[in-house]
């Protein structure tokens, strides 16, 4: 299966074709394709005139990138210090149990990806869970099922948040 090339072409026109654009190009590719497909990395390498191996090194060094497709719903459990001391670990454990996957994995139906992130900068509301782009603060293990339910219905972020409160 070949991937559509149009988004990539568009991304490449946004940045000067040089090595220093690499990370930003990869970020946009990650956003557009939900992962960094190998075949596209080759094209990025060619376009920016960077050796393929260097592209791979960068793609695997930074946390923002994934070579495997991510799930439709990205659940990111904050692992900042504030979240940790307020029980972030329990939240992660419960998500693992609810989804039946480990940290960093995607459910077999491709629906959910569970990740730990280092501090999303909303420490005052610890522990925090970010689902796609929606922040949920002051999490407790009891609220997680409701978060998952909210992702199934296509609710707006605010409505979904209301539901967990």
């Amino acid at each position: 299966m070949t991937l559509p090339r149009a988004p990539l072409q568009q991304i490449l026109t946004k940045y000067p074709p040089k090595e220093s654009s690499l990370i930003m190009v990869l970020q946009d590719v990650q956003d557009a394709y939900r992962h960094l497909p190998l075949e596209l990395l080759v094209e990025v390498a060619k376009a920016l005139e960077v050796p393929k191996a260097k592209v791979i090194a960068v793609a695997t060094f930074y946390k923002a990138f994934s070579l495997e497709p991510k799930g439709e719903v990205e659940i990111r459990v904050c692992r900042g210090t504030a979240c940790h001391v307020r029980g972030g670990l329990l939240i992660m454990d419960e998500f693992k149990r609810l989804l039946g996957i480990e940290e960093g994995e995607t459910t077999s139906d491709g629906k959910y990806t569970l990740e730990a992130v280092n501090c999303v900068g909303t420490c005052a509301m610890a522990p925090v869970v970010v689902v796609n782009d929606t922040y949920y603060g002051s999490m407790t293990v009891n609220k997680l099922n409701r978060i998952l339910r909210a992702t199934k219905s296509s609710k707006t972020a605010d409505a979904a948040r209301e539901e967990t409160e």
Binding site: V50, A64, G80, L90, R97, V117, N142
Partner: protein, 616 residues
């Protein structure tokens, strides 16, 4: 609008100030990431709706501002000019606020803040202890302006410092002024900003680069995010002044991709500054040119280290290199580069505007000015606080922070992020400045203050930080990469109650090798969380090792969950919630936890409403 001289900028300011006075009331809705997370967008929309219904759109302005700092209480709404402070405002409250407060001038009590200690209701922002002990030099503007409006920034006096510098101050004088102010880098190192600029100005090689480090990686710190989100122009202005002083024409902001709002607001600010002739070619008609590129980080804590950040800007993996030749001489693309963090840059316009002598009056002998801290953890008022250097930790935690959550006992405060350390109660009276914190075995770092109570296990905290660093080490040098692996292994053992007292000697030996042998600051300071907890909380380590007990009840291998029979009502909630089905008991009967099956997940503790779960 393209301003071609500092005079034009001044004229614009007075014009804007005149216009502003005509608007009587302003509803400021905080739209920092914290408040966004609480649904402030819906609140703003509800206000807009309510004003429309009452035909007040012309008379009342809604301003969505950057972070006010008191994130705990979001969404925050402040009614200006009175300064009435409403907290935890729901969209449904908007109508009432417009009806009562705006139309009738009445205060709505249920939205006011109640002081947790005095139980008093406080109406005005200025009366709230969280705010009134602070000195909001850098951060104060946030609550008064829409970060996406350059006009708001100019109205509040923004870019005037730049205008003055460009026409009447020699670059050397700018550097002298910054030197004299005593400003030290707010990113953690605490190096004199003025001296850094002077070396970069003198360094041979062209072009020279200006870099703003906005890769706020310390978990538990978010002041840079709030500054960039809430007042991006202050950072931009600081950078332009710095560029002028150093003789640079290219600037970069390396910002965390995890901060989308900061990226957005910064880009808006840059575009506006360019449009107004404050950025780009021939700034304010002075002949000086400078522009800024925004570079989003890829997600690596190590990129907070200056050389790794520069490697990342170059599009490479973020591996640091030795700094025997300083980055001010050989930095980005091996050219002279000046790197300061967001907060440092944001201090610059204030220093230039008000003068080094004025600035020097704030703070202590060797640490001047204010510092923004992210106060989080087990404390009542969490949020961002800006205080003068030298204020005792106790005042931050107990006066501004309102004491420990749930009335529990204070145990430690973690400062300086993963490179810092945990300070005990005996350190609470220490004045907060660069040198005192370092002497106490911690560090200022970027300004995270994470408060811990008696239910926080210090071995677990040390393990947490080492695990964090283990995942964030770039892996280039042996002591950091292999040392962290081993250190984590040893701490795991301790948290399982395994190993002997000899383990602690082994840890200390390894820490010394890492401190002395590692390539960059990440590895060299990685032992700090372990060494500081060993220094102040050795007993707790020994409890794990000798008594096989975790006094705080955290380390899973050493604790047991049981039911306190007197408190248990037999409500079956815990039994239903237990994922391991380890709880037995009929309805209305005292329940029992089978510790063989129990996975110590803590769910029963979280769901029990009767305090009937005991962890020991």
């Amino acid at each position: 609008m393209h301003l071609t001289s500092p005079e034009a900028l001044k004229r614009l300011k007075s014009q804007l100030v005149r216009q502003r006075k005509e608007n009587k009331s302003v509803i400021t809705v905080c739209a920092g990431t914290g408040c966004v997370a609480c649904g402030c967008a819906a609140v703003s929309a509800a206000f807009r709706e309510a004003l429309k219904e009452n035909h007040l759109e012309e008379k009342v302005e809604i301003k969505t501002t950057g972070c006010h700092g008191f994130c705990e209480r979001g969404p925050l709404v402040v009614m200006r000019p009175e300064g009435i402070f409403y907290q935890r405002v729901k969209p449904a409250d908007a109508k009432q606020i417009v009806e009562k407060t705006i139309k009738q001038g009445k205060v709505i009590e249920k939205l006011l803040y109640r002081d947790p200690q005095t139980k008093q209701l406080l109406t005005y922002e200025k009366d709230i202890p969280f705010y009134n002990k602070q000195e909001r030099l850098i951060f104060g503007m946030n609550g008064h302006m829409d970060p996406t409006s350059i006009q708001d920034y100019i109205t509040l006096g923004g870019y005037q410092a730049l205008g003055r510098v460009l026409v009447s101050v020699h670059p050397d004088e700018v550097i002298e002024e910054v030197k004299k102010s005593g400003l030290r880098g707010r990113g953690g190192g605490g190096f004199s900003t003025g001296r850094k600029w002077a070396s970069c100005r003198q360094a041979e090689g062209e072009p020279k680069y200006i870099i703003c480090n906005a890769d706020e990686g310390d978990p538990g710190a978010f002041m840079d995010r709030s500054l960039l989100e809430g007042n991006p122009h202050a950072v931009v202005e600081g950078m332009i002044i710095g560029a002028y002083a150093i003789g640079s024409h290219d600037g970069y902001v390396y910002v965390r991709n995890e901060y989308p709002l900061a990226v957005k607001n910064l880009n808006i600010a840059l575009a506006a500054a360019r449009e107004y002739g404050l950025l780009g070619a021939d700034i304010l008609g002075s002949g000086f040119s400078f522009d800024i590129t925004v570079s989003r980080g890829g997600g690596a804590f190590v990129c907070g280290e200056s050389t790794a950040l520069m490697a990342s800007l170059e599009g490479k993996i973020g591996e640091p290199r030795a700094k025997y030749i300083h980055t001010v001489e050989c930095g980005l693309w091996e050219k002279p580069s000046t790197l300061n963090n967001v907060e440092t840059w944001a201090n610059v316009p204030t220093i230039i505007e008000k003068g080094a002598d004025w600035y020097r009056k704030i703070g202590t002998e060797n640490s001047k000015g204010t510092k923004v801290f992210a106060l989080t953890g087990k404390v009542n008022n969490t949020g961002l606080v800006e205080v003068p250097m030298g204020i005792p930790l106790r005042e931050i935690i107990f006066d501004i922070g309102g004491g420990i959550l749930d009335g529990r006992a204070f145990k430690a405060v973690q400062t300086g992020g993963p490179s810092g350390g945990c300070l005990p109660e005996s350190a609470l009276n220490l004045p907060v400045d660069f040198d005192t914190l370092t002497e106490a075995g911690s560090m200022m770092g970027s300004g995270g203050l994470i408060v811990m109570d008696d239910r926080t296990c210090m071995v677990d905290v040390a393990k947490y930080f080492i695990h964090f660093l283990l995942e964030e080490s770039c892996g280039k040098c042996v002591p950091c990469r292999e040392g962290l692996r081993q250190l984590h292994e040893m701490l795991e053992e301790i948290s399982r109650g395994e190993g002997g007292v000899g383990t602690l000697d082994g840890i200390e030996r390894l820490c010394s090798v890492m401190e002395q042998g590692s390539l960059c600051a990440l590895g060299r300071s990685a032992p700090n969380p372990v060494m500081s907890t060993l220094r102040y909380f050795r007993d707790e380590y020994l409890a794990h090792l000798e008594a096989h007990r975790c006094p705080a009840g955290v380390c899973k291998a050493l604790i047991n969950y049981s039911v306190i029979e007197e408190n248990c009502t037999g409500c079956v909630v815990c039994k239903r919630a237990c994922p391991a089905e380890a709880i037995t008991g009929e309805k209305n009967q005292v329940h029992k936890i089978n510790s063989e099956i129990c996975t110590r997940c803590g769910i029963c503790l979280a769901v029990c409403k009767f305090d009937a779960i005991l962890v020991e």
